[in-house]
């Protein structure tokens, strides 16, 4: 149990930041897609920049042990090609519509927003539908990601 505490703390910080940065706002997302403010782009660009610099600095840690004892490696996305832009497009339509991506969805659900919980319920059904489609429709391929 004790090994899980860092994940809980990081999750709390992430969720808190998502709400305080107003990334969990439908208004902010519309404003971003209409290029009417730098705010959301600032969040994304500075997050990417911070993560990129950290990753570059961490290159020398590859192969060493993490706090939990795993061998440190740089994360890799599963094999695939077309599923990335197509899946992204489908997700993007939902994001533009509801104004919440999965992180803010969980955070707002925690703040007691019932409409967000409804959207989250939808997301779970969509996920299940994907699992079903993957089983029935052969061209929907993606290597199983369980980690």
């Amino acid at each position: 149990m004790k090994r899980l505490i860092p994940y809980l703390i990081l999750g709390i910080i992430f969720g808190f930041t998502l709400v305080k940065s107003e990334a969990a706002s439908w208004y902010r997302i519309q404003e971003m897609f209409h290029f009417q403010s730098f705010h959301m782009f600032g969040i994304l660009f500075s997050a990417i920049a911070t993560a990129t610099v950290s990753i570059l600095l961490m290159k020398r840690l590859v192969g060493k042990r993490s706090l939990e004892g795993h061998v440190i490696s740089i994360p890799k996305k599963p094999e695939g090609l077309l599923n990335y832009p197509v899946g992204g497009f489908i997700f993007g339509i939902g994001w533009g519509l509801v104004g919440l991506c999965p992180g803010p969805m969980f955070a707002l659900a925690g703040s007691g927003s019932l409409p967000s919980i409804l959207a989250l319920t939808g997301a779970l059904h969509g996920t299940w539908l994907y699992g079903l489609a993957k089983q029935k429709i052969p061209f929907i391929k993606r290597s199983v990601c369980t980690a």
């Binding site: 600032g42 911070t50 339509i93």
Partner: protein, 187 residues
């Protein structure tokens, strides 16, 4: 004391929030060599709750190996509760004048909180839009193996071309939605 509470209630500028979010990537690697991302939990939640008579193979795996991810998700929910309920911002979002003008022109009321009552309430139309929007988010993020956190942040920061394709897809979808579907629905 009052100033401290006000500080906790007030929204954060992008240059504070962005780097904190970005730091999740190296910190999760340092803690357990984990890839920062939140939407995989949608999959795990399905694996946990799928009723026995329904057998979708995709969700038949031991989700316990992803306990760390579910705990992280639980943290996000708690963080959202603390930021959005206990220390909720009493003021409306600080939108740009251009955005405010756009919303007024579309007939939306002046913003009072994070989200518009015109969409975040329970009329038949709103319920349909929120649910269907959610379905698209769930289906899309799983098909693309990631969402904004997993692709736009982790993926781009680790120079993965797949994530760039995903981000282009995500942004195109969002633009399509924001320019055509949202105005067409009358929000």
């Amino acid at each position: 004391m009052n100033t401290l509470i006000e500080l906790l209630q007030s929204p954060w500028p992008w240059y504070a929030s962005g780097p904190i979010i970005g730091l999740m990537v190296p910190l999760l690697i340092l803690v357990g060599s984990r890839s920062f991302g939140i939407s995989q939990n949608l999959e795990h939640l399905c694996a946990i709750t799928q009723p026995r008579p329904i057998q979708v193979k995709f969700f038949k795996y031991d989700w316990r190996i992803a306990t760390w991810s579910l705990v992280f998700m639980g943290g996000v929910v708690i963080g959202g509760f603390v930021a959005g309920y206990i220390f909720a911002n009493p003021d409306a979002v600080q939108l740009s004048d251009a955005a405010l003008a756009m919303f007024t022109e579309r007939g939306l009321a002046t913003p009072t909180g994070l989200n518009p009552a015109e969409l975040f309430s329970f009329s038949v139309e709103n319920v349909l839009v929120l649910f269907i929007g959610g379905v698209l988010i769930g289906f899309g993020t799983r098909y693309a193996s990631g969402c904004t956190s997993g692709h736009a942040i982790t993926g781009l920061a680790t120079f993965q071309v797949k994530s760039l394709y995903a981000v282009i897809g995500i942004f195109s979808g969002g633009l399509f939605s924001a320019y055509f579907i949202v105005p067409w629905l009358g929000y």
